[in-house]
């Protein structure tokens, strides 16, 4: 009998725990990594070389130098080849590296590069890069590597980008429900939209 009561308490407790866990205590800001598949790209683009820290031999280029649409539109965008060539035509030192040669092959043929998508959302989801960059990069003035990296992981250390975060609805919500400061110096906070229709299309 006692044994039963104990187990009953345990069961009820478990149920409460699970439910409260589900409604409140899901992922926090330091989100777990959920590494996506390794994606083979037509050119093995070295993100670490371009965006990485100087001590690691990177050039610390701002993400939005190449992914320039992120702050202006829904999608971050893959830069046109023109952008790559813009710099690389004057960087003689690496011209004979195989990856650069490949790049110039595409350019000379005026053929677009068929990149593979690394961060894919379901078709019915509307994710707006612009809003997030505006909110956290411009308004809140956080470093771009943190702002981009929250969803994309530590790309500056990667060669070809690989998904690092789960990018699921619950994961999005874990951040949306947090109160974030409205601007860099403000004590006022606000959370992300919770309206289904905002993100579902």
């Amino acid at each position: 009998m006692k044994c039963f009561l104990r187990s009953l308490t345990l069961l009820v407790g478990l149920f409460f725990y699970a439910s409260s866990h589900a409604t409140d205590a899901l992922p926090t800001l330091t989100t777990p990594d959920d590494v996506g598949p390794v994606v083979e790209q037509p050119i093995e683009f070295p993100h670490f070389r371009h965006a990485g820290d100087a001590k690691d031999g990177g050039m610390q280029i701002n993400c939005m130098y190449c992914h320039t649409y992120a702050r202006r539109s829904m999608v971050a965008g893959i830069p046109p080849i023109q952008k790559c060539i813009g710099c690389h035509q004057s960087i003689e030192s690496v011209r004979d590296k195989p990856r650069i040669q490949k790049l110039f092959e595409y350019w000379d043929a005026k053929k677009p590069i068929p990149w593979k998508k690394v961060h894919d959302l379901p078709d019915f989801v509307r994710f707006n890069h612009e809003r997030h960059i505006q909110r956290f990069y411009f308004q809140q003035d956080r470093p771009y590597q943190e702002v981009c990296g929250y969803c994309h992981g530590n790309v500056k250390a990667m060669t070809v980008a690989q998904r690092q975060k789960p990018i699921t609805m619950g994961w999005c919500a874990s951040c949306h429900q947090k109160d974030h400061p409205v601007s860099a110096n403000s004590s006022e906070t606000g959370h992300g939209p919770n309206d289904c229709f905002t993100c579902h299309k």
């Binding site: 866990h21 589900a22 699921t168 619950g170 919500a173």
Partner: protein, 461 residues
Amino acid sequence: MGKDIREDIAWAQINKDVLKSLESPRKLYWVIIFVALLVFSVGVGCEIYQYNTGMGVANMDNPHVWGLYIASFIFWIGMSHSGTLLSAILHLMHADWRKPIYRFAEAMTTFSLLTAGLFVAVHLGRLWQVYYALPYPSERWIWPNFQSPLLWDAMAIFTYLSSSILFLYIGSIPDLAICRDNIHQGWRKKLYTLLALGWEGTDRQWRNFRVTYLTIACFLIPLAVSVHSIVASDFAMSQQPGWHVTSFPPYFVAGALYSGCAAIITLFIILRYVFRFEEYMTLPILKKTVRLTFAIAMVWTYLNCIEFASVWYSHDQVAKDVLIQKATGTYAPFWWAMIFCGSVVPFAMMVKKWQTNIPVMFAVSLLLNLGMWLERWMIVAPTFSHGYYPWTWDHDQWPSLIQWGIVFGSFGWFTLLFMVFCKIVPSVSMYEVKEMVYHRSQARKKEERAVQEELAVKGAH
């Protein structure tokens, strides 16, 4: 009026008779199983086609978004109610004539609920996403909409189904123990041993058993009422003319008991023949069931009239239009057939001679069931074809063969489950029949003793 049951029937004989039903039914049993299987597979075929192609093949359209599936859903839910009536309400009222027939009535409850559940699945446009409607803590952080009557439905049906299964099971444990004790080989032995849970009929077991059975019975009665009220809420809670009716919950409950009783009569007759239960499912019991059914039929008729009257005398012109449309429009034949089957045919049960006439009662019970099925259809469909918005009125919608096929298939599914159950679990409760026989013979003995004493007193004078 004859006796409900022979009082001198030996307990061992009861065991023997009932256990025989588990082994050698009449040939008709196998015919029924075969036909049920056939009908069910037709339904399965239709469902596979519908699942793959889309709900459109059922020939539903924009105003008629619900069709026979919902109507049949209510029908099957309704059918389940009389099992509870017989096993719980009559149990509390100590009407012991229910004892030989309550087990199969309860099984009917369970299986018609399972059949109703089938229609939920069949009806959904995206069955594969049905888990969205389940309240479980998901990664997505969202829950179903607890405001929706459909969710209440799901919850109520789940509660009812699981409670009914438990009730049925708890009530069968002593019988399963009998089976365990009498069947000595094969998978059945293992199954009964497992299910009987080591029941020995000790005083402790019986004591707790009695209280438990009574408690669940007490729970089941309000539950059954709430289940069909909630099903009625699917309609009554909506805003549509013809649905938004305050009297729908009692009306639905009455209809439910009605169709359930009619189904009990049908199954009574079938089981009595197939399993040779003439000794137990006796004609006097049939008579009592028939009388009960008649009473409920009159309640239903009354509530039906109330509904018409309240529509008629209200100022809700739209609801009035729907009613008139039912009686005069495209659905008129079915509507009048429903009135005939539901309110006129039961008067055949008033004829004393027919009350125990098996063929007549079989036919009557089938007609009653047809009437009750039509009733559900006549609740669902006409509102769609004659709602608030005249532009979308559409009286030409007719269920496609696919839709009909699935509805027929559900009868096969129910029959199959029910018949298989009856062959595995004793469909007459042996221990309760023994109780019935025991109590009646005790009562008779007492009576006789009293008479003798009286005679003795008289003789002394």
